[in-house]
Amino acid sequence: MFHIYCPYCEEHREEEEFHPKGQAHIQRPEDPEACSDEAWGDYLFFRDNPRGVHHELWVHAVGCRKFFNITRHTVSYEILETYKMGEQPTITAQNLPGKDKQSGVQAASGGWQTVGARPESEALNDASNQGARV
């Protein structure tokens, strides 16, 4: 039973309030019509399935109804951080600095208050942020 920090509500909530929505940072191809069948199949069905650090999309369904991202270890189930839509994880499989760092970290710092309202959404569309969407 996970205890999940909602980066929008700024507190821990019980798992019952959330729904997992699969892998984070999946981006719909910019031009679907230009995609090969294989590329489209990849987008629809193929997901990372790591035994270890995983970035995943969750929604605070019974709460603020916001989608956000969780970096979680798929064996220990420890939540390493949670971060808002449009942000990048600070902890990844590549930079995971060992055991100490795995404990205690919860919320990524920074980010903005409101998704969908300007000027924040401009930041989302900023080219430098492209990879961060979804």
């Binding site: 069948d37 294989e38 798929t74």
Partner: protein
């Protein structure tokens, strides 16, 4: 192989059971095999067994990182049925069902396949439409299956609440009399013993750490006990398939999720059939030891921890008590979790890959146990011939590119 029989048992008793032989050897890995099976669960061992028995290929290694039969084979709720909706899935599971029906004798190992029948309940008008659709399809596919109304269900399971007072009253069910349960551990042990006796090396505590691939063709595997060569490698590793595929540079449309189950304390026999309800989300049978064996739902997140969320167990028991109010005072003894590799269309992958000689058999989701003999049988044929057996062919990885899914979500719901 030492033959098992009631007579043998008496004979051994007289010698204080001191002369029973090992059921399988503990061999040292050879340098090279004709075929390597990665994964020593039920499906992997069945593949090895049928390779040896049906195709005469005995220079085979089964590589298991833990102990044979220690994964989902040891953790499932043992239901066996074949009443699947789509032709492709029905063919595969019915092929398996036919093998189940003679399996104890074939293996000389009593896997206690008990054809006590499976009920899939319907609680809404749409449930009943789906049931009728599936039963009609089963019938025309030659699978025993019938539609029961609420009264018929009540007669089969007198202790179930089939009244109108239920929140979602039972409106009827599909009934497959040939379906049932089997002793899960015995299935792995029986296949292991049979394969071993035919010369297959079962290498336990041996972990594959990579694949040797030369010019796009597999030539062997790296393991913690050294490299082992083979030109044909079949991966049958259930929840760990994604991790293996990644080593070979292959992507699979799999997600590994926790699936939980639980048992009650042993009770005097009270429930003779298997009862499944997708609508209220619970399924239940009673083992020969007396435990109520109860399956819970799949958790929505990735998990290799062999644990799931407690709320999933709560919901399952709510459903069980809703269906069987008399079980309220029965007590839950133990719960556990497995790792199931799920495909987007709730059907398995039996497929060649972009690496020549490397095959995958995975993605069974919640439905793997019942397919064990059938899966091993058609996968062995595919490995032996180098091309997929006709029953396996529709389950190729390509379907995710073309869109030709075999979508068992549609009407069969959860594919337990």
């Amino acid at each position: 192989m030492q033959r098992y029989s009631g007579f043998g048992l008496v004979k051994h008793a007289l010698s204080h059971h001191e002369n029973w032989q090992r059921q399988w050897r503990n061999p040292t890995p050879k340098k090279e095999y004709d075929v390597i099976i990665v994964g020593g669960g039920g499906h992997g061992l069945a593949t090895a067994y049928y390779l040896a028995k049906e195709h005469g290929i005995t220079n085979v290694a089964v590589i298991e990182k833990g102990w044979l039969g220690g994964g989902n084979t040891a953790r499932n709720t043992t239901i066996v049925r074949s009443n699947y909706l789509w032709d492709e899935a029905a063919a595969l599971y019915e092929h398996s069902m036919k093998l189940w029906e003679g399996l104890s004798q074939d293996l000389n190992y009593n896997v206690m396949f008990s054809q006590r029948g499976v009920l899939n309940l319907g609680h809404t008008l749409q449930d009943m439409r789906d049931i009728q659709r599936r039963v009609n399809a089963n019938r025309l596919n030659g699978i025993d299956s019938e539609v029961l109304d609420a009264k018929g269900v009540q007669e089969l399971v007198p202790i179930m609440d089939c009244s109108k007072n239920a929140r979602y009253p039972v409106m009827g069910a599909s009934w497959q009399p040939r379906a049932g349960v089997a002793r899960h551990d015995a299935v792995a042990w029986g296949f292991a013993r049979g394969a071993d006796a035919r010369g297959v090396d079962i290498l336990q505590q041996t972990e594959v750490t990579g694949f040797k691939i030369l010019d796009g063709r597999v030539v062997g595997v790296h393991t913690n006990r050294g490299d082992i060569g083979a030109k044909t490698v079949g991966c049958v590793a259930a929840g760990n398939s994604g991790v293996l595929a990644k080593m070979a540079g292959i992507k699979l449309p799999l997600e590994s999720h926790p699936l939980q189950a639980l048992v009650s304390e042993p009770l005097k026999p009270i429930l003779d059939t298997v009862v499944m309800s997708n609508h209220v989300h619970g399924y239940i049978s009673q083992s020969d030891k007396g435990d109520l064996v109860i399956g819970a739902g799949i958790d929505g997140y990735l998990g290799y921890g062999q644990r799931g969320s407690y709320s999933t167990v709560e919901h399952t028991l709510q459903a069980i008590v809703e269906m069987f109010p008399i079980f309220s005072r029965v007590r839950m003894n133990r719960q556990w979790g497995g790792i199931v590799d799920t495909c987007p269309d709730a059907c398995p992958i039996l497929s060649a890959t972009s690496v020549k000689g490397l095959f995958f058999n995975c993605g069974w989701g919640t439905g793997g146990f019942k397919a064990t003999p059938g899966s091993g049988h058609v996968f062995a044929a595919s490995l032996a011939k180098g091309e997929m057996h006709p029953i396996a062919a529709p389950f190729s990885i390509d379907r995710f590119n073309t869109g030709a899914l075999v979508d068992e979500h549609g009407a069969a719901g959860v594919a337990h």
